[in-house]
Amino acid sequence: MSDAFARVPALAAQHLLLAMAALALALVIGVPVAIRAARAPRLAGAVLGFASLVQTIPSLALLALFYPALLWIGHGVPALGFLPALLALTLYALLPIARNIVTGLRGLDPAVLEAADGIGMTRAQKLRLVELPLVLPIAMAGVRTAAVWTIGAATLSTTVGQPSLGDLIFAGLQTQAWTLVIAGCVGAAGLALGVDLLLGVAERAAGERRWKRAGAELLLLVAATAAASTPLWRGGGERRVVVGAKNFSEQYILARLIGDRLTRAGYAVTYRDGLGSAVAFGAVAGGEVDVYVDYAGTIWTAEMHRADTPPHAEQLSAIADWVQKSRGVTLLGALGFENAYAFAMRGDDAQRRGIGTLDDLVRVAPQSRFGADLEFLDRPEWAAIRRAYPLRFASATPYAPTFMYRALESGRADVISAFSSDGRIAADRLTVLADPRHAIPGYDAIVLVAPTHREDARFLDALRPLIGRIPVAAMREANYRVDRDRDKQSPEAAARWLAARIGL
């Protein structure tokens, strides 16, 4: 419990910095645009239409879309981390700010504006002395809405590799560590309430024309944000490296295992957790992530677009060549276990219906419900499997990995796309169906290293002892320590256990 909350302050600081930077940028863009738009109905239509359209894009997708967009721009523009999160959140914050200012300016009493003209105000004086002071309360309401939205949506920046309180929420959801989820939610809610409170007090003070008080509140907010950002200015002496992890327990554990080794080798390690599968490889190729663990079959199908299934050794050397030549990424080696897609059924169910292979499954598929992980149904592996085995399920439903096992256990699904290194396969007494037609490629866990460390002996030497060292049983056990419902361990603890288990 206290472990989870101990991570809150550092992440909250990053979270606040990101959200306030986005809010500030949205103000810098939104205020002048809204003022112009209020005088030009067509521009107002375009601006508010665009801002509303942005709101209809789910924030998770909006963040994800900035990754390919920035990748496409290239020229050293970072496609992961702070920048895409900042841009997406800024777009998000624009609507309430622009809409309230436009609505406020349009709704001003025409008599007041006529009086302003009548006593000889210039346009600038009218704006400064009359329009802005009168529109301030409604504009502030928009800013407060934007602040709360931005702080909420900033939890999603985890998915593009920007640390935030979302790290706790995503990690907690994956590993069913609910205290982590609660810590993340409480942290984000606390930030939102705090910022809203400060802005509210500032707004009221401004309404009562107590400018010093209003200024003091805003200054406090700026100071808090600045204080939150100070840890980021440090650094210097140590060499900072980033270890990436996709969004499931095994990845969190392996990232900590790698991180611990690098820490011992003298690196200052930070983690980018919860990266999407497609984002992760791009991140290591682009250098935003220094090292992470991927799986041979994933690179094989999703990056190399291969559909054949050669023997493992052949596949690994082909991947090593390809990642080096095409993106400058080093395949340091395989960890020793495989995490393949494995069709799994409840053991008693499989036995009763006499199913041991995917060929057998074809027969009963029309009477079976299929539970897949979130990306499986769209992956090339699924297409390849269906080419080899004409599977037609009664239904196919995507689940978050944890809930997928729950669905199988509770009978809402009859077959799931499990992972062969998952500790729950043994623990839940699941039957893994054989693949006699070899439709599923090898999924050896492989360590991928960013181009900058290609010749970095110190870095590579720190990781080399891991190669070929982790048997699947050890990995399953480590995974189960995090995934099980009782006596759960954190990925950090599981990583320490795994290190001891494999003698490191």
Binding site: D109, V112, E114, A116, G118, I119, G120, M121, L129
Partner: protein
């Protein structure tokens, strides 16, 4: 009529303004001597307000020009022109976020000559207690608000005062008292005053010259006494007939 005026003479030369196909003002030419109190009277849509606003360029005419002491109002920037002209209108337009004193003092701030004492003196001039200085406009009655409007219009000592239905939204008692105050200020400050009203009785009682407009044209231009004596033509006499008949009925009731 005061011989010496601080206000300018005003001349309209063939002033026209169209909104689409409809003529709001249709070639009006007038000269108004310095120090005159002119009432522009007419029904709604007669063009009287539009004509008034061509003087301070709240309306820009399509053709013709407006001169103040032989100087075209279109010369120079509009804000500078407007700061030399007092403008009072029906909706007053006090700035709701500023106190009474700040409202009155604002034109001085714009002119770069802030003068709090002058703003307070304006309260005396429009017969408001100095205690209202710190109040916000929303706390005032309609009549008090319009007095503040007049004070704000005159704080920079303009020679010309434009009023667009200044008493239109007030109750009769307040209206009478404020009209008296305006008349007094016109005389004391030796202003040139142009007041738009649809109320012929008000025009007859306040103005030294009554100009009647209909469909964007001037249809009568007479001193009040001449109008009451039957001059000015049918349209003007139709407007004069209303208060005259009311007065006669009141006299009959009391007699």
């Amino acid at each position: 009529m005061p011989a010496l005026s601080s206000g300018p003479a005003v001349a309209f030369e063939q002033v026209g303004k169209h909104y689409g196909d409809a003529a709001a003002i249709d070639g009006v030419s007038l000269t108004i001597a310095a120090g005159t109190f002119v009432a522009l009277v007419g029904a709604s849509g007669s063009g009287k307000s539009t004509l008034l606003k061509t003087v301070n360029r709240l309306v820009v005419p399509d053709r013709g020009r407006v001169l103040l002491d032989a100087r075209d109002v279109a010369d120079g920037p509009a804000p500078a022109l407007r700061r030399r002209i007092g403008y009072v209108f029906q909706d007053v337009g006090l700035f709701p976020h500023l106190s009474v004193a700040e409202n009155i003092a604002l034109p001085l701030r714009l002119a770069g000559t802030p003068d709090a004492a002058r703003a307070m003196a304006m309260l005396d001039l429009v017969e408001l207690p100095r205690a209202v200085a710190t109040r916000m406009p929303a706390e005032l009655s309609g009549g008090q608000r319009q007095r503040v409007g007049v004070a704000r219009a005159l704080v920079t000592r303009p020679g010309l005062l434009l009023m667009d239905e200044p008493f239109g939204a007030l109750d009769p008692v307040t209206r009478e008292s404020l009209a008296g105050a305006v008349k007094r200020l016109h005389d004391e400050l030796a202003l040139t005053t142009i007041m738009v009203t649809h109320d012929m009785a008000e025009a007859l009682l306040l103005a030294t010259r009554v100009i009647v407009m209909a469909a964007g044209r001037v249809v009568a231009d007479e001193p009040p006494a001449a109008l009451l004596a039957g001059a000015g033509g049918a349209a003007a006499q139709a407007l004069v007939a209303v208060p005259r008949a009311q007065a006669a009925r009141l006299a009959a009731l009391s007699g």
